[in-house]
């Protein structure tokens, strides 16, 4: 609106020249802009998350998960689950109800394309070592590469307090287990008892 007010002859020339040059721009660019849906962009939507999840999704707060570099499908599934009150309701369920599926996808793509920055956190090396073994035996099949970002979420380097919350929710039945996970966690607990979860969490936290 205001930019229109300031257009002068020079501005018009510039606009025409830009239009002329646009013809030279590889066509997928204009195709992309044609596909842009109305409403806020994925970037604009994702920027609003940073107050809690850190700039571009790299959280510096230990209770808030890093979401940078996250698989977009995992992101969308998580947001849908929150929207349907399927995860232990605290705050994300209230926020998720504001968005459409398309907006979740747009945000998901934004975060997927961000580099994950990890921050050192204190961990217990003994537990981490035990956790590494448990991970290999019970978790690595789905959480590949030690739990690096992939199609089963980000565990490696994830904030430990957040991981503890998540495991508490699974174990207390407040979050639905993904396929096979409950059996695997039960088996890990059978092997290592009360140390199993702290060991796994310390292992993920140790990957910095």
């Amino acid at each position: 609106m205001n930019s229109k007010k300031t257009i002068n002859t020079q501005g018009c020339n510039r606009l025409l020249s830009l239009l002329a040059l646009l013809a030279l721009v590889p066509f997928q660019l204009s195709a992309e802009s044609a596909r842009l849906p109305a409403g806020p962009s994925g970037q604009a939507l994702a920027f609003t998350c940073a107050g809690c999840h850190g700039t571009d999704g790299s959280s510096v707060g230990p209770s808030m998960p890093a979401i940078a570099g996250m698989d977009p499908e995992v992101f969308v599934d998580a947001m849908k689950a929150y929207r349907q009150d399927e995860r232990n309701p605290s705050i994300m369920n209230r926020i998720a109800k504001a968005y459409t599926d398309e907006q979740f996808e747009a945000m998901g793509w934004f975060f997927a394309s961000q580099r994950l920055r990890l921050f050192p956190q204190p961990y217990d090396p003994r537990l981490a070592e035990q956790g590494a073994r448990l991970h290999d035996d019970y978790c690595e099949k789905c959480h590949e590469n030690g739990g690096r970002p992939g199609d089963a979420g980000t565990l490696a380097g994830q904030w430990m307090p957040y991981l503890h919350f998540t495991m508490e929710d699974f174990i207390s039945g407040k979050r639905k287990w993904p396929r096979k996970m409950q059996r695997k966690v039960d088996a890990a607990i059978e092997e290592a008892g009360g140390d199993a979860i702290p060991a796994l969490v310390n292992y993920y936290g140790s990957q910095q």
């Binding site: 609106m1 205001n2 930019s3 007010k5 020079q10 501005g11 020339n13 510039r14 606009l15 020249s17 830009l18 040059l21 646009l22 030279l24 721009v25 590889p26 660019l29 204009s30 992309e32 802009s33 109305a38 409403g39 806020p40 962009s41 994925g42 970037q43 604009a44 939507l45 920027f47 609003t48 998350c49 940073a50 107050g51 809690c52 999840h53 850190g54 700039t55 959280s59 510096v60 707060g61 230990p62 209770s63 808030m64 232990n88 309701p89 605290s90 705050i91 209230r94 926020i95 998720a96 109800k97 504001a98 968005y99 307090p161 919350f165 508490e168």
Partner: protein, 431 residues
């Protein structure tokens, strides 16, 4: 996202050399555009950082009167003793790392015709766009007998974190065993709607352990307040609210809580119905946009009207007003809101510099309050613009406050979320 950014443009034009032959290189690439930011608080810092992130070719100068930022958010924890002021204070080197020029000076005027900012130190800064995020000022004439000097010396407002926060903390620590603390809460709208009630809670948290017979009275200019149900739930659980022995009393306006005057020498507050005397008195005065907003003719009444698609002032073109000083209904005056608005304004300015229309805005507010040990509560909202009414509207069916009577484990988690939120929001604004 950017159909034609500088790099693709050069590529499209067949390399930089080709541009020169077209005869308008400076027009196309733009002589470096300059944005001057007034105020290095939440809105100003976030906008400066995001401008540099979105468009590194924009020169950004931020002018702030203080050498470092001390955040108000979490400053109530200084009153319980859970935190030091030091832990709330952050320098501007992080912003400098993004290429923002940070200048310590006070802005005294903005000339919208010349597009020029004037400082107390005698410097002038020309701008293509100016961002103003100066926070709130106080209506000193609202409570007779209260003024800035008294606030600095004996009856702090502590509504800017800093020496007055420490003064209030010291007064609470040194008051007698069964001492009486009075908090005077302001009328709407004001900075941080749940803040006075979190303050009462944090003082109660200290007293519970150190002065268990102390009383805290909130004298309110209102008949209702933010997150009221949840505060009362917490106060009932933690501080005996509702019993004769309650540590916290809340006196609504209807019950005589509205205060008209102060006798500073006896720490007596003059109400419409009765007077109140305290050992420690904290007056949070009624508020308006900070002084520079008035000096720069950006206000209509107490606050600065803006086009909510961009946060550009509706009074002067090329000036954008963010945060507490803006009239951003229906967003509250909070750090999260200022942070969210700043990104909308930064994106709008970057788009306009490229000759594009700003996109549709989206806003979020999330605000935690710590009522006591292991008892955190929150309010959240996601908003979109109603362009027809120029109103920022919560998206129906979303947002709201923490559930009533939630499990202790959820309440405890919200405390840890509050602390993580603090780290992330500070990081997002200036690191």
């Amino acid at each position: 996202m950017t159909p034609l950014n500088r790099r693709t443009f050069i590529q499209a034009a067949g390399g930089g050399a080709a541009l020169a032959t077209l005869g308008f290189p400076s027009l196309v690439l733009g002589a470096a555009r300059r944005v001057v930011v007034v105020g290095g608080g939440v809105g100003g810092c976030t906008a400066a950082k995001y401008l540099r992130k979105l468009a590194p070719d924009i020169a950004v100068t931020l002018i702030e009167s203080k050498p470092a930022y001390t955040s108000c958010f979490m400053s109530n924890e200084v009153l319980s003793g859970d935190r030091t002021l030091q832990s709330l204070t952050f320098g501007y080197d992080g912003l400098r790392g993004y290429g923002v020029e940070v200048i310590e000076d006070s802005v005294v005027g903005i000339d919208p015709e010349r597009k020029r900012v004037q400082t107390a130190g005698g410097s002038r800064f020309d701008y293509d766009a100016c961002i103003v995020s100066p926070g709130v000022g106080f209506k000193w004439d609202a409570i007779e007998g209260y003024d800035e000097q008294i606030a600095n010396q004996s009856i702090p407002h502590a509504w800017y974190a800093g020496p007055q926060t420490q003064l209030l903390r010291n007064q609470i620590e040194s008051m007698p065993e069964g001492g009486h603390v009075i908090i005077v809460a302001p009328p709407n709208p004001f900075k941080c709607p749940p803040g006075p009630y979190e303050r009462a809670s944090q003082i109660a948290l200290y007293c519970k352990h150190h002065k268990p017979r102390a009383k805290i009275t909130i004298l309110d200019a209102k008949d209702a307040f933010s997150k009221q149900g949840l505060y009362i739930e917490g106060w009932t659980k933690l501080y005996g609210y509702g019993t004769d022995d309650s540590m916290i009393q809340w006196v609504s306006a209807a019950q005589g809580g509205a205060i008209e005057g102060l006798d500073a020498s006896t720490r007596t507050l003059v109400g419409l119905v009765e007077d109140f005397q305290g050992d420690v008195v904290n007056i949070i005065p009624p508020q308006k946009a900070n002084a520079i907003a008035f000096a720069a003719d950006l206000v209509d009444g107490d606050w600065c009207p803006v086009d909510k698609r961009t946060f550009e002032s509706t009074r002067h073109q090329h000036i954008y007003v963010l945060g507490d000083a803006s009239s951003a209904s229906k967003m509250p005056k909070s750090a999260y809101a200022a942070n969210s608005q700043a990104k909308v304004a930064a994106a709008a300015i970057a788009a306009r510099f490229q000759g594009k229309e700003p996109g549709d805005p989206t806003f979020v507010n999330t605000c935690y309050s710590i009522v006591g040990e292991d008892f955190g509560i929150s309010v959240a909202a996601v908003y979109s613009l109603d362009a027809e009414t120029n109103s920022i509207e919560p998206i129906p069916g979303s947002g709201g406050v923490s559930p009533a009577n939630a499990s202790p484990e959820i309440r405890k988690r919200e405390v840890s979320y509050a602390h993580s939120w603090f780290k992330n929001v500070i990081n997002d604004m200036m690191k």
